[in-house]
Amino acid sequence: MHEMGIAANIYELAQQSVSGHGPGRLLKVRVAIGELSAVEPDLLRYAWEATTSVTPDAGCEMEVEWHPARQFCPSCKQDRSRSEGSWLRICTECGGPLRVEGGTELDLLQIEYDSEEDE
């Protein structure tokens, strides 16, 4: 369970990103999590709640953008579909080897900030 550490990293990044925008409160963070990032979205949301609950930004929402990894067949030049959480050993069409692509995202995309200063 390293999601607590990850949540703390996200909070730190979010705070850095609002510095210079005057006093205010974080309303929402949007993160991208890939299937192969080794981070579990539900655990991360839970950790986020725990991390922010003791800060002035308590109640800040976390929105997770989920990025599945793709299994691509280089011979057919197509992605092969699979059910969530399961993996194919070979291409279901040509029987050739597949390549895994994407799914390694672990990014802070965007934050929503309620600034006390007027524009």
Binding site: M1, N9, L36, A38, P97, L98, R99, L106, D107, D114
Partner: protein, 229 residues
């Protein structure tokens, strides 16, 4: 008033910065660095003990070993006559690049031919943290079962080398080696797979050759100009 700010940053960018500092440092010293990841009890320390015994006459090695508690693993490595430094994580389930930096300085790791980083026993959390290594090695012991690569795809897709350990137990189990090979190559077509037993010595020659081959490649690689640790 509410405003939206685009950030678009890697969550672990600070760790990645520290890792790239380590990578520069070890590019200059031409030290091969490997990050060993596996579940607890799959034989990381035993593999290292045997590896170091075989290498110590012609190569220098050092070990940084992470555990939640006890100095036991570092003591076992030191018994082979090579330097080892224990990193106690105090509950954390993985090592990060900053800890490696501190440990390298504290332990005066210097410039060994090979630096082995034995991560905390865990197949999930260490996967996310770049430690400045040249390559990750994932260990899978025969006793754990042949279904693990698809159960833990993140680490098996990233590790350049999969080491099967405790091959001496194969005759007592229904471990299907072909199933493991299929899963690993599906997740990572370029991955090398080495089948070993630290007890019988099976595959140890092949494993040591793999390390020495990679060390040769590292030695012949010129570090990028203008970069220093």
């Amino acid at each position: 008033m509410s405003r939206v700010i685009d950030v678009k940053k890697r969550v672990l960018e600070e760790n990645e910065r520290a890792a790239s500092g380590l990578r520069k440092r070890f590019a200059e010293s031409k030290t091969l660095v490997t990050n060993l990841i596996s579940s607890p009890g799959s034989g990381k320390t035993t593999l290292l003990e045997e590896t170091l015994k075989r290498m110590k006459d012609h190569l220098t090695g050092a070990v940084l070993v992470g555990d939640v508690a006890t100095e036991r693993d570092a003591e076992r490595i030191r018994a082979t006559g090579l330097p080892a430094h224990q990193i106690l994580t105090g509950g954390a389930c993985h090592l990060d690049a900053r800890q490696i930096m501190t440990a390298c300085d504290e332990a005066k790791v210097g410039t060994p031919d090979i630096l082995f980083i034995e991560n905390v026993g865990n197949l999930i959390c260490p996967t996310s943290y770049d430690l400045g290594e040249d390559f990750k090695v994932v260990l899978l012991s025969v006793a754990e079962g042949d279904d693990k690569p698809f159960k833990y795809p993140a680490i098996f897709s990233r590790a350049e080398v999969t080491v099967i350990t405790k091959a001496d137990l194969l005759e007592h189990s229904r471990f299907d080696m072909k199933a493991v090979r299929d899963q690993v190559s599906s997740l990572n077509p370029e991955a090398e797979i080495v089948i070993t037993s630290s007890y019988t010595g099976e595959g140890m020659g092949e494993w040591c050759e793999l390390l020495e081959r990679r060390l040769e490649v590292k030695r012949s690689t010129v570090p990028p100009a203008g970069q220093s640790a």
